[in-house]
């Protein structure tokens, strides 16, 4: 119990700091690297929450594929690699107010709704019952959520075609 909380705390601090650096850093490439830290921390949190398959997918898709895409994007738009003073527009303070206000609202709502509710660490998901969560997830996707799954595949195809159509030079 304690170990989990300690790990959570370490990860949370790392993620929060990286996230803040992500939106404040003056270096575009550093921002991408901070994002990697946040995403990796997120994958670790998934493992804490007994979602090992999602965690693996997170690493594969996000850190493996999407981050490469983003870095390509940075490269292709010829973003300055070094420190650039002008990465933020002039609405930093109102934006911060909006974000803080949103966080306040969300936090208050969450505290109000769930208070100090604890996870039941003996339930099926936590103990990996009936073959483990990966098996159960697979069963769900290929039975109950088969149609959405197929729709997602069509969406990916459409996005692929769309990205090519938009980005290619004629």
């Amino acid at each position: 119990m304690l170990a989990q909380n300690i790990i959570f705390g370490l990860l949370a601090v790392a993620m929060a700091l990286s996230a803040v650096k992500l939106v404040t850093t003056k270096n575009v490439v550093h921002a991408a690297l901070y994002l990697v830290v946040v995403l990796a921390g997120m994958a670790a949190q998934y493992i804490l929450l007994a979602a090992e398959f999602v965690a693996v997918t997170q690493v594969l898709v996000y850190i493996g594929a999407i981050m490469v895409l983003v870095l390509f994007g940075i490269m292709l738009t010829r973003a300055p690699i070094g420190v650039t003073p002008e990465l933020d527009n002039n609405s930093r303070i109102p934006s911060a107010i909006v974000a803080l206000f949103l966080f306040g609202s969300l936090g208050a709502m969450l505290l109000d709704a769930f208070g100090d509710e604890r996870f039941d660490l003996n339930n099926g998901v936590a103990t990996g019952a009936s073959g483990g969560n990966m098996v159960r997830t697979a069963d769900s996707i290929f039975s109950q959520y088969l149609v959405p799954f197929e729709v997602v595949s069509i969406l990916l195809l459409a996005a692929l075609v769309g990205a090519i159509v938009i980005a290619r030079r004629d």
């Binding site: 109102p94 974000a99 609202s105 208050a108």
Partner: protein, 757 residues
């Protein structure tokens, strides 16, 4: 929640072996047309006849099926049928059948045939079961036959008429879908199904009126038709919802009729529902004051006008009235004999539209106003208790009005170079003998002269108005008959009699009648130029090819003889007394009119005056337009005639009322209010925010140590100016500003939830 299930299909399958196949499968008719619509749309363009082959094949099949339906309906033994398939029918209909059997045994007109009902459960929500089914009775069969007949004529006519149109395929697709919608609407058993067909027809009407959308006038007309009927549809929706709850959570029309008549619903509810539904009827069937769209709808291709704005779609309102007659009967207190809402509207429409027909120079507009006027007769008939008469008039009118429209299309096609201006016609009797003869038949039928179909049906309506105590309606109807004879004689004189005037317009002849109101757009004309050169060589009027005259002849035959189906005298040769009435009589009819003794025998006392008036109208029209050549100088001399002419020319200023007075005033007020709000409220808020922010900034600057970190002060100022800026110009096109607004609003909602919940 939305479980789609084929409930009752097993039971239905059992009984269908014993029941007449076409009647139990009447849904096939619209299904065929929908299949044709899909096929035409997807595969039509590249075929040899550009999709027409699908339309023609399916309409021929549909027409054959509709004939089969009529035969099977006639052969159906009266009264017996219901008992054997009771199991197959839905529970709601069960009460109806006992009623029907009861009246079948007692009714003096002999037994009535049981309607064929089949249905499946469409979806279920809690204990509300929304069904989708068919309810085929004599009325529905009559409508099916009429619609199929008109539609097949229109399809054939269109092949020639739109031969060179570049959107030929789309035109046929819309025509198919329209026919399907109408065929569905007349056989559906629920108000929901009816609404479905109703709106689909509205859509197809929009597409067909705006077929030549390159011209702004046409798109305007399409929009006007769509929006005007939509105005009425609000009433229809309200009425359907009221009836749904009042009848105990059911959309079933038979159940609604029954409950309206046996006193389950309170009278107040029925009055409100009837008036609400009547607004839908007024919009769709072009009743005063929502009739203004119909004459404008003549912007569409003529065969489409013939199908939609004369023979079928516009009678959808009449159909609704007749189908939910129980509601109207109770809601309008038709039994009482005092002028009700419906009879007032009908009577006003009859006379008003007939008046408007006098000043039109466009032959299609004359026919359009005469359609409005005739629809007024139908509404009048239903409102005074002539249920059979109104339906009878619906059928006869469909034939002769489709005939008149298609004949006018034939004139435009071959006689006046794509113009409907009567100034360009005249003397066509010599050049277009078949068109002339068929138009003449339609003219006599519309004027209501004996033997021709219009006479029998109009006489039934007038007879009922007289006998049931609606004297005002009777007077209006008779006066309308006189006016009808007169303005139709004017059309005849200007179109077929006298001298041809086309050569007077020879100058703009080469531009293919550019100034004509409803000529196809220029590119169409150019596209068709060569073909027309080939077959008419621009040598003046001539007869149309057989694809056009064929349907005309078929319709003329029907327009002449269809009136005999409700022969009002004793059996004579093959003519059976009140055959049509017995064929279409249903439970509603038996429960309302027959029970109240409102069915009247033929009366020469009504027929002779109405014939006399019609003949008088024709005589006046002939005297004025032919003998005096329409030149008495009455209008020019000023005074009352000029005033009347001006009022009629401006359509009683109704369009002005709609667009300038009502919309104008609302728009003006609204704009003023909005401006005031903008000036006094929004600006005050913005200025206030700005001012207080500035004051705060100044205060901060003034009273707090200026040595404080600049960032705070600057930040406050920035915040103030930015928030002021956000308020002042939210619409700055910057995506991040929008996102900020969105997120802040989300936060605010969350904040509100935290505070108040």
């Amino acid at each position: 929640m939305f479980t789609v299930l084929a409930a009752g299909s097993e039971a239905a399958a059992e009984h269908s072996s014993s029941a007449p196949w076409i009647l139990t499968h009447a849904w096939l008719l619209p299904a065929l047309m929908v299949a044709s619509f899909v096929a035409t749309l997807f595969f039509g363009k590249n075929l040899k006849y550009r999709g027409a082959e699908f339309g023609i094949a399916s309409i021929v099949a549909t027409f054959a099926l509709s004939i089969g339906a009529v035969i099977q309906w006639i052969r159906l033994p009266p009264g017996l049928h219901g008992e054997e398939n009771t199991e197959a029918l839905r529970a709601v209909g069960a009460g109806m059948r006992s009623f029907a059997t009861h009246f079948a045994a007692e009714g003096e007109g002999g037994a009535i045939r049981e309607p064929i009902e089949r249905g499946v459960s469409w979806f279920r929500d809690g204990n509300v079961n929304v069904g989708l089914g068919i309810h085929v009775d004599g009325f529905a069969v009559a409508m099916l036959f009429t619609v199929a007949f008109i539609s097949i004529c229109v399809h054939i006519f269109s092949i020639e008429y739109l031969r060179d149109d570049k959107r030929f395929t789309h035109y046929f697709a819309a025509l198919n879908l329209f026919t399907a919608a109408m065929l569905w609407m007349v056989q559906t058993s629920t108000t929901l199904g009816l609404l479905f067909g109703w709106e689909l027809m509205g859509l197809c009407s929009f597409l067909l009126i705006g077929h030549w959308w390159e011209e702004k006038d046409n798109t305007d007309a399409a929009l006007k038709a769509f929006l005007t009927t939509r105005t009425g549809d609000i009433g229809l929706l309200v009425g359907i919802v009221i009836l749904f709850f009042a009848a105990g959570n059911t959309f079933d029309m038979a159940a609604i009729n029954e409950k309206a008549l046996n006193g389950t619903m309170s009278h107040t509810v029925l009055v409100v529902a009837a008036v609400a539904l009547f607004f839908g009827v007024m919009g769709k069937s072009a009743q005063f004051p929502l009739h203004t769209w119909l004459p404008d709808a003549m912007a569409g291709p003529t065969p489409a006008s013939s199908l939609i704005h004369a023979a079928t779609m516009v009678v959808a309102g009449v159909y609704l009235f007749a189908r939910l007659y129980g509601v109207f009967w109770a809601g309008f207190s038709i039994n009482s004999g005092g002028m009700n809402f419906g009879s007032w509207i009908g009577a006003i429409t009859v006379v008003m539209a007939a008046g408007l027909a006098f000043v039109q120079t466009d032959i299609k507009k004359v026919l359009a106003y005469s359609t409005v006027s005739q629809l007024g007769y139908m509404i009048l008939g239903l409102s005074v208790g002539a249920w059979v008469g109104a339906i009878f008039h619906l059928v006869t009118h469909a034939f002769f009005k489709a005939l008149l429209f298609q004949a006018s299309g034939s004139i435009a096609h071959s006689g006046s170079h794509h113009s409907f201006e009567m100034e360009r016609m005249g003397g066509l009797r010599k050049y277009m003998p078949i068109t002339y003869k068929t138009f003449f038949v339609g003219y006599l039928a519309l004027a209501g002269l004996p033997i021709f179909s219009g006479f029998w049906s109009k006489d039934e309506i007038l007879n009922a108005a007289d006998k049931n105590g609606y004297t005002l309606a009777f007077i209006a109807g008779s006066f309308g008959a006189c006016l009808t004879g007169c303005y139709m004689t004017r059309v005849m004189a200007k179109t077929f009699w006298g001298e041809n005037r086309l050569h007077l317009f020879h100058d703009d002849h080469d531009t293919h009648a550019a100034p004509a109101d409803h000529a196809p757009p220029a590119d169409h004309a150019v596209a068709s130029h060569d073909t027309h050169d080939a077959h008419d060589a621009h040598d003046g009027p001539h007869e149309s090819p057989w694809l056009i005259t064929g349907p005309l002849v078929a319709l003329a035959v029907m327009a002449t003889f269809v009136g005999f189906i409700n022969w009002p005298f004793n059996d004579f040769l093959f003519l059976k007394k009140f055959w049509f009435e017995h064929a279409i009589a249903n439970v509603t009819f038996e429960n309302t009119l027959a029970a109240a003794g409102k069915v009247h025998p033929f009366d020469w006392g009504v027929a002779i005056p109405s014939i006399t008036l019609a003949v008088l109208g024709i005589a006046i029209g002939y005297w004025y337009n032919v003998i005096k050549q329409g030149d008495l100088g009455l209008v020019r001399r000023g005074g009352i005639f000029a005033l009347g002419h001006k009022v009629l020319k401006n359509k009683y200023y109704l369009d002005v009322l709609w667009t300038d007075v009502i919309i104008g005033s609302i728009k003006g007020r609204f704009a003023k209010t909005a401006y005031w709000f903008n000036q006094n409220v929004l600006d005050a808020v913005v200025n206030g925010v700005g001012r207080s922010a500035t004051a705060t900034g100044r205060g901060v600057y003034k009273y707090i140590d200026q040595g404080l970190v600049d960032g705070i002060v600057n930040g406050a100022g920035l915040t103030a100016s930015t928030s002021g800026g956000v308020l002042r110009k939210l619409q700055n096109g910057k995506v991040q500003a929008y996102a900020g607004t969105f997120l802040a609003a989300t936060g605010l909602i969350g904040f509100g939830l935290v505070l108040f919940l």
